[in-house]
């Protein structure tokens, strides 16, 4: 499990608990890294758990941090809400070193968080979790009518889409006109 420290982006988290040593072959101590989201709460996560995230795994490999350096430089994910990052970290810990099952019952059930979770997981490139999340998104509309789906997934009507498109075109036209005027001003 991750250890969490409220409101301290650079505070040193608790020391990792050392795994009991086997009598036959001493295990290589696991390395830990630190991540924080928008709320600056630092999560301590093992390298094994972070392997799920292609993004973080790539960063770790490239940086080659020592334990001390990792502690001092938590990976900042300012675009991810703290509670969402917590969910992601929990999932990574639960599935550390295990093959991911075809159905994941540990997935957060809060639908209101699902959308943010999909975006975060997509950003962090956690393929298996993304698969589960998208499945969950699809299940939200299972057996629903088109009207209900439109409501659940906030799908604009054709008229709303047309209006938005017109508005976007208008805005783009104005911006282009503004740029032309600015360029003409510069030329003078």
């Amino acid at each position: 499990m991750s250890s969490t420290e409220q409101g301290t982006s650079s505070a040193a988290p608790a020391e990792p608990t050392t795994a009991p040593e086997s009598a036959a072959a001493p295990e290589v101590p696991e390395s830990f890294y630190y991540v924080h989201g928008k709320d600056k709460v630092v999560h301590k996560v093992s390298a094994g758990a972070l392997q799920h995230s292609a993004l973080i795994h790539g960063m770790i490999s490239n940086l080659g941090y020592t334990e001390e350096q990792a502690k001092a430089n938590p990976f900042p994910f300012e675009n991810i809400d703290g509670d969402i990052l917590q969910m992601v970290v929990d999932w990574c810990n639960q599935h550390k070193g295990k093959p991911t099952p075809p159905e994941d019952t540990n997935l957060p059930k809060q639908k209101e968080k699902l959308f943010d979770l999909v975006l975060a997981v997509n950003y962090l490139e956690i393929k298996e979790l993304l698969t589960y999340c998208c499945k969950q998104v699809a299940m939200m509309v299972k057996g629903k009518s088109p009207e209900e789906i439109r409501e659940i997934w906030m799908i604009p009507t054709d008229a709303e889409d047309e209006a938005a498109e017109k508005e976007a075109k208008k805005r783009a036209g104005k911006e282009a006109a503004g740029e032309t005027a600015a360029a003409a001003g510069d030329a003078k």
């Binding site: 209101e112 959308f115 975006l119 997509n122 993304l130 998104v137 699809a138 088109p146 659940i152």
Partner: protein
């Protein structure tokens, strides 16, 4: 709590659509023009669409392609003009699109599943006056089937009105009243004809087999003499007809007829080919130009198959 699905990154959205069953995809496609296009671009593979025409509604079967794992991912719809009905989990559900006609529903289903045409069109219970409407609704289909629910006269009119919309036709009434009708039917340029009428066998002779222009023909029951079958095979062996379109001719003769292979193959050189999958013997005929033919003869069945 709703989520803004259309703001998801394209790949995630695609994956979410991949997780949906056919029923939910159809529902989603009806939300807006944009969702319709998303379903289309999700490229869901389904079995060729089957449609069964009744006078006041059309019954559609939409089924996931190769549903071998028995997930039973399918939806059966009763399409009227501005709405369709289907069996939901608890009750009959009805989805509407006020501006839609049956024509629009057909176009919608074909469009979202990227199908160029209806795979199987069954004509089940309609009036004569409705046949023109059917032709308008389904200008093309892969296989047309005219049921045995109609009278022979009706089936004949329906066939001649509709056969041109399909490459393959099934008809469950013998629609030939005379030699002229038979010639007209057999010279059609169809890929396949399946004519089944156990009450009124189709009378055939050597000339009918020689003028045949359909690639794959099955006729149950047919009425033709052993002598004429023998003559037909002899002519084929002589290679008089260098271009002969039929590749399969399968005839089931009237009940009680027993075909003797020695009589059918009298005077023709052949070899026995053991079929290891079924307990019967095939006869292989080889022409001088190298063309080969498998002939199956048993009880009242005769099958001619170009190898």
């Amino acid at each position: 709590m709703p989520i803004r699905l259309l703001s998801l990154p394209g790949k995630d959205l695609q994956y979410a659509l991949d997780c949906m069953d056919i029923r939910d995809l159809v529902a989603f496609s009806l939300c807006s023009e944009r969702t319709k296009n998303l379903v289309k671009s999700s490229n869901r593979k389904i079995e060729p669409i089957a449609a069964y025409v009744y006078e006041d509604y059309i019954y559609f079967d939409l089924k996931t392609e190769n549903d071998y794992d028995s997930t039973n991912d399918y939806i059966s719809l009763y399409v009227f003009d501005s709405y369709f009905e289907f069996s939901g989990s608890l009750e009959i559900e009805e989805w509407r699109k006020e501006e839609f006609t049956q024509n629009d529903w057909i176009a919608h289903f074909l469009n979202i599943f990227n199908d160029p045409m209806i795979g199987y069109l069954g004509i089940l219970n309609t009036s004569l006056s409705y046949l023109d409407t059917i032709k308008q609704l389904f200008p093309k289909c892969s296989r047309l089937a005219i049921s045995d629910m109609f009278s022979r006269a009706f089936a004949k009119i329906a066939f001649w009105k509709l056969y041109s919309i399909a490459e393959k036709v099934e008809i469950y009434k013998n629609i030939c009243d005379d030699k002229n009708d038979t010639s007209k039917l057999l010279t059609l340029s169809l890929k396949s004809l399946y004519l089944v009428d156990f009450v009124n066998p189709l009378k055939l002779n050597l000339d009918d087999l020689l003028i045949l222009n359909i690639t794959d023909v099955t006729i149950h029951f047919a009425n033709i003499s052993v002598k004429e079958l023998n003559r037909f095979l002899k002519l084929w062996m002589q290679g008089n007809r260098t271009f002969y379109r039929p590749e399969v001719i399968s005839l089931c003769l009237e009940n009680g007829t027993q075909l003797n292979y020695e009589e059918v193959l009298k005077g023709i050189k052949y070899e026995n080919v053991k079929n290891y999958y079924r307990d019967f013997t095939l006869f292989r005929l080889k022409r001088r130009d190298g063309k080969e033919l498998n002939v199956f003869i048993a009880d009242n069945e005769f099958t001619f198959r170009v190898v």
